[in-house]
């Protein structure tokens, strides 16, 4: 597949908070040039995994990000990694112009003209304080600052939380159209899987600290199938050992992994599951077992 070394490599990544295992020997690899969705329910360990990747927390196990050990080398790592942790983390006392000056002052890969150009597209005055801006505007300021940094890895943790649909769409459009190229890699977590599934190239499903699925979006169609089965064929379909089934509108959708295409086609209408459907199916199966 990809000959260049992985951007993120985690082996047996674990993190304990007291007696709670937020991450339990998670293994995953992120290759360069990909947009990876780290998807999981609340408390699954998404944020903990990202915190570890960004050097914000200690961890057990092996973790390499851009060849570095994140916790020990966070400052160096941040020269080539950016992150937007959540909405509204820019301090409210900061003026937009000060934010630009500060990042330009401390970040060797920040391009001031680019930030200014991105901000000029919005109607946010640079004299304004972050605290005076709406949530959507704050996010756009943070995004402009982040996109002006020539980073190899961008990590987004619930970046559009609390934003309205227009602002969310604007955020992802800017990201895909103005930022993403082959030299960059994005790791993104969100609850709203539907919103990002069109832009992802890879998915990592995480539940209870485990990686449940690590798969590229192109491979989903080859590995997984969702089959709509009429009731009279249900018994026959179950023989093929679906890992999950869901009843909808008088039909049953069965989910198969690595099953024989021809056999499935005899049972009903075969399609590739969407990322969100696959997520629900995988997690339900994981929890039932």
């Amino acid at each position: 597949m990809n000959s260049s070394p992985p951007l993120i490599e985690a082996r047996g990544l674990s993190k304990k908070y007291g007696s709670f295992l937020a991450l339990d020997r998670a293994d995953f690899v992120v290759q360069p040039g990909r947009i990876v969705g780290l998807i999981g329910p609340n408390g699954a360990g998404k944020t903990t995994a990202l915190r570890a990747v960004l050097g914000l927390t200690t961890y057990d196990g092996e973790l390499r990000v851009l060849g570095r050990e994140p916790f020990a080398e966070r400052a160096l790592l941040m020269q080539e990694t950016s992150f937007i942790a959540d909405v509204a983390v820019l301090p409210s006392w900061l003026r937009v112009q000060q934010a630009i000056d500060f990042v330009a002052g401390v970040h060797p890969r920040f391009r001031r003209e680019r930030a200014a150009a991105l901000l000029a597209k919005t109607d946010i005055g640079t004299r304004r304080r972050i605290g005076e801006l709406s949530k959507g505007m704050k996010t756009m300021v943070h995004l402009a600052l982040t996109m002006a940094i020539d980073a190899r890895l961008l990590v987004l943790d619930e970046p559009t939380l609390g934003l309205d649909i227009l602002a969310r769409r604007g955020f992802y459009d800017a990201l895909v159209n103005d930022y993403m190229d082959e030299s960059r890699t994005i790791v993104i977590t969100t609850h709203q899987v539907e919103e990002v599934e069109n832009l992802l190239t890879d998915v990592l499903f995480i539940d209870k600290g485990h990686i449940v699925l690590d798969c590229s979006v192109e491979d989903i169609g080859a590995r997984y199938a969702a089959v709509e089965v009429a009731d009279d064929r249900l018994a026959a379909a179950r023989e093929e050992r679906p890992f999950h089934e869901r009843r909808a509108l008088g039909k049953t959708v069965l989910y198969f992994e690595g099953a024989d295409r021809e056999k499935l086609e005899a049972l009903g209408e075969v399609g590739a599951p969407s990322v969100s459907d696959l997520f629900v199916a995988k997690l339900s199966a994981e929890r039932a077992s």
């Binding site: 160096l76 942790a85 959540d86 509204a88 301090p91 006392w93 002052g105 401390v106 982040t146």
Partner: protein
């Protein structure tokens, strides 16, 4: 170094009170000197008496600023590693290629060097303005006691000495405040006060002694005593001040005191602890 300057600048952006507060105090003093009742008898007194009066004048203005700076510094140090965790902006600052030790050191420098120096400059400006207003109102020639360069310089040196010795003497207090600021999840003031109180109480209850109490008292109240050693005696009646201003600082005694350096070591350990906590804590 460049990063460090930006980090310090950032502190001044966030904490406007660093310069707004002394500016307000200075403005109040000038207003008071403009409209207050001026007691000018002292300024016409004999040479020796007027020298004491001059020193007292500068010392009083400086003292007000020094007290304000001390209170503000304590507040700043307690807040500096807590505020950005509370509003989560720590996540923005941690996305910058800045080490946590640089961040903590920048805040330390602002708390113990920048703030005292800003207040020191404000005290100077305020003293000059007030002296000018009083001189004009009292219709005194500019050669009077408030305008004697050697007196002025002595007082400047004295205050700088107070600031410098204060940095060393209060190192454990400063370190403790920063450690608490990096550690507390809420209520920083309580977190700063309760552990020492608990230690003193436990010692009193279980051992029946007051060693920690005495150590803490001597540390908090003993700064100027350690820096000057000689008790200062003023005599307004005769105008005698013993010893003279230049003899006051006891730098050699201060710098050779083990108390000072034990405190510096403890303070450094606390600050190292604050850096470690800063590396690990990103939320409150």
């Amino acid at each position: 170094m460049n990063d460090f300057i930006w980090l310090v600048r950032r502190e001044f952006w966030e904490n406007k009170a660093i310069w707004v507060l002394p500016a307000c105090i200075g403005a109040l003093m000038v207003v008071a000197s403009l409209f207050g009742k001026v007691e000018i008898a002292m300024l016409h007194a004999s040479d020796q008496q007027s020298e004491v009066a001059g020193v007292l004048f500068f010392a009083a203005i400086g003292g007000v600023f020094w007290a304000a700076a001390s209170i503000y510094s304590v507040w700043y140090l307690l807040d500096c590693l807590y505020a950005d965790r509370k509003d989560r902006s720590v996540l923005f600052f941690k996305s910058m290629p800045l080490t946590d030790s640089a961040t903590v050191l920048s805040k330390l420098c602002v708390g113990v060097i920048a703030i005292p120096l800003v207040y020191f400059c404000a005290a100077d400006i305020a003293a000059l303005l007030v002296a000018f207003v009083i001189s004009v109102r009292a219709r005194l020639a500019f050669g009077n006691v408030l305008w004697r360069p050697e007196l002025w310089l002595q007082v400047q040196a004295l205050w700088l000495y107070v600031i410098a010795t204060g940095v060393l003497w209060y190192a454990p207090v400063v370190g403790w405040l920063m450690l608490v600021s990096a550690w507390a999840k809420r209520a920083v003031i309580l977190h700063a006060l309760l552990p020492p109180l608990a230690v003193m109480l436990a010692e009193l209850l279980f051992l029946g002694t007051r060693v920690s109490c005495v150590v803490l008292r001597d540390r908090i109240l003993g700064g100027t005593y350690a820096a000057f050693h000689h008790p200062i005696r003023w005599s307004l009646a005769t105008g005698e001040m013993t010893p003279g201003v230049w003899q006051l600082p006891a730098a050699v005694g201060f710098l050779s005191s083990p108390d000072v350096w034990i405190g510096v070591v403890i303070g450094a350990a606390f600050i190292a602890g604050a850096v470690q906590l800063r590396k690990r804590r990103t939320d409150t």
